[in-house]
Symmetry: C2
Subunit: 542 residues, 2 copies
Amino acid sequence: MPVPDAEESLARWGGPSDAPELPSRVRDYLAQQVGVARAWPPAEPASWQPIPSRVPRSVADALRLAVGDDHVSDARADRLAATGGAAFIDYARRRSGTIDDVPDLVVRPGTHDEVMRVLAVAREHSVAVVPVGGGTSVVGGLRTDTPRIALALDRLGRLLHLDEVSGIATVGPAVTGPVLEALLQARGYTLGHLPQSWERATIGGYVATRSAGQSSTGYGRSDDMVESLLVATPEGTLELGRGPSTAAGPDLRGLLIGSEGAFGVITRVGLRVRRLPEHRIYDAVLLPGFATGVEAFRDATQSRATADVMRLSDEAETATTLLMSGPTGLARAALERYARARGVELASASLAILGWEGTDRDLVRARRAATWRALRRHGGVSLGHGPGESWRRHRFDGPHLRDALMDAGYLVETLETATHWSSYLSLHAQVTSVLDDALGPRPGPYVMSHLSHAYETGASLYTTVIAVADRIDPVAQWQRAKSATSDALVAAGATITHHHAVGRDHAPWLAAEVGSLGVSILRAAKGAVDPDGLLNPGVLGL
Amino acid sequence: MPVPDAEESLARWGGPSDAPELPSRVRDYLAQQVGVARAWPPAEPASWQPIPSRVPRSVADALRLAVGDDHVSDARADRLAATGGAAFIDYARRRSGTIDDVPDLVVRPGTHDEVMRVLAVAREHSVAVVPVGGGTSVVGGLRTDTPRIALALDRLGRLLHLDEVSGIATVGPAVTGPVLEALLQARGYTLGHLPQSWERATIGGYVATRSAGQSSTGYGRSDDMVESLLVATPEGTLELGRGPSTAAGPDLRGLLIGSEGAFGVITRVGLRVRRLPEHRIYDAVLLPGFATGVEAFRDATQSRATADVMRLSDEAETATTLLMSGPTGLARAALERYARARGVELASASLAILGWEGTDRDLVRARRAATWRALRRHGGVSLGHGPGESWRRHRFDGPHLRDALMDAGYLVETLETATHWSSYLSLHAQVTSVLDDALGPRPGPYVMSHLSHAYETGASLYTTVIAVADRIDPVAQWQRAKSATSDALVAAGATITHHHAVGRDHAPWLAAEVGSLGVSILRAAKGAVDPDGLLNPGVLGL
């Protein structure tokens, strides 16, 4: 078996050399705004001691018959490779040596039929099965200490078919974004789905978690992209999705999307792909404050003048962005004068990144002009293409920056939600204040947010928080804050998660989202496909 | 209780005076193409004899306690008013005096809580309940001879709230399209959902059937418009939809949409509404044949250059449209010369209607220009605004024309599906040929189709068929043809229905669409909300 660099990717998002050096002005700013932290040594994977496999030998033997000797393993490296979790609390636990969520046995089926055979073995022996893709869940989607088989999907990772007439790529679930984009772009197509976890997450993971990405305003969420699904369940195979849309009863495809491995194993996905854009324009825009920026974004979406990428940082995130990558010294003063002359105070400005893409140059230009008409109605000031292009180049830096900040001793985590425009600003204020309270007192935490997916009726809200890590119990430190925020989201009528999924971390709030009767329906649906409750037990609270 | 003109609306779509007089050239054309028919006298509602109510008096008494004396009735007029069905076979049955699908008792709750009380009474007495909206199902959504209570929703027919910031209208389920549009447009908004049944269908019906409308390419289907739902079920209340989008597990809102009264009673809907367009352009376009037209439409959608209305008639429908409302004599010859000079033979042309709408004039123009670039790549020839505007004025005439054709002795029915672009033309040919075979021999039937909803990956296909009605058994005549077509759709991998829903007529093919395991999931979900199976039994095959 090929052994991925498993320990490394559990210890931190990227390799130590991938993490950026924090500039001294950033260190000073953090010390002043958040507090002085003490270096937090990176995890030492070699010290981790996973408990011995608890799955009986008879199960491994039966699985070997099902998928072949080479594809069943209880070796340490393979078990670690099938362990997931990229939340702050996952990394915090591992830094302290805790690694109690390692699966007992790894099986790597190579076909849908082999997945079915694995499920039959699991059922016969009453062992839990957890499908594993990129392992990038930030909500504990894989974090359990239940004895279990990890069903690693990496052998189901091919582009199976590209229907260029319909614009549909049929893929195995384990294809990652970079691999799929390379294959598609070579043939003139793109998926256009760019979650922050793009480097490692898989298509199956996108679908199982209803993910969104940085271009989702224009390209749609993962759930908008799924044309068809093949799903293996203990009770049989589900094949869903005929034609581009249907009125044939309740939406079962939508019920499997977001099912997080609890209803079945996604073994094939038909994805809507687009012609590769030949024309791309990215603009950075300053708006006179977040509230005005939100109004501008609302105006644009409700005029149907959306960009494909629509991102708006609040004042705190704007200040950080300017500090991290903005001009300094005289150039900074010049920027301030430029903005002030156009009615925007840089110190209280809100930075927007907008991107338009397409194959029809005139349409891309016209769409851009329409968005700009909306932005100008609310005092938007252009910063030109440079910062927008720079954002595009650095769009996957976030998790690497988190590595550096954790090394420096900080708690860094994100959370996200979505709500309608009429309650957007009050929700933003509330989230900020709850996190301030929960992680206070000052100095720290530093709470900053952005809007990164705009809909006609509302938008997503994505919040990053930085605090000095409590080195006694950083997990409890974050869980208190997370719990308080989740309570606030639910009370405000917002969704508990716009694109991070439920996993185990959000499960206590799912009943507030869909009601206890909603949970009963989920339980009944699970009962129809997984009557013994073997599939990813505990996720979604099921 | 106010008594709607129940008999009339069961006998035919519109009043006798609403049906157009068929011009003699149309009668001649029909006689020649389809065959000579014998006048089919309109139904005489007064002769219908519904069977006496089979629901025990004790149920009526309990319902009176639940909703008040005035809102429970077994009077003939009320029972007929709560009878539905607007398919050819419904009208054909009634023309022959058959009226065996009348509900036994009508209850008209005025609040969600009263709906819950009605469900409790039904459960206590084990009586089936069928929610009734506009009664316009064309797939037997209400057609059953089970003893049952009709839960008429007409008292839940108000615009409850308009959130102008978020662009969300919260409405009772019984609001009809015309009423809602009048209320919204007075405040500068529009829903933009225009099914063929618009004059009579209700919002609750749109949602329960996942309907699409004539502008759905631009405005989205009904399922795209639903922000939130309140649903009464025998097991409790479901409240679904927080924020514009979510990743909080499987999509339960999507499971209730399209549930056709089998999972619960929709008592409130939050709908995404749009700013009322100030700018509208409708163009008619000739394309050199349906195959080329389909390519042009595909090119437009895959260039993201869609219009809001995108409709393309095949050659047969184009010929009929020109016959019904096109120029004659010298003007016709001039049109032929005009088209020929631009490379299109009128006799084999395909007519497209395209409409762009919006609040931003320049964006509307730019989007139109982009669509036109795609059309021109495929030889599109403009017929100007006139025919497009004329189509817009007459867009709800279809059902009235059917009244006239049935009066004249013809079978007239429509069916619809959707498939991906790569199989679109072969599906079109297959549907045409199956209907030709099933309703042959020649002369007749006349089979004509259009594409009326374009997606990036495929499109809907809507087919109208006209044949001389078999006056011995017109129901069996159509059912044979429908059954053969449904088999062909399933075999071709297309959906059994793009926007007419499942009802009872499509139920035998639902398992082919979602698999037997898919049906098991639906059954399990129903069990969670309606364990006694009282809600619209038989619909969706459940």
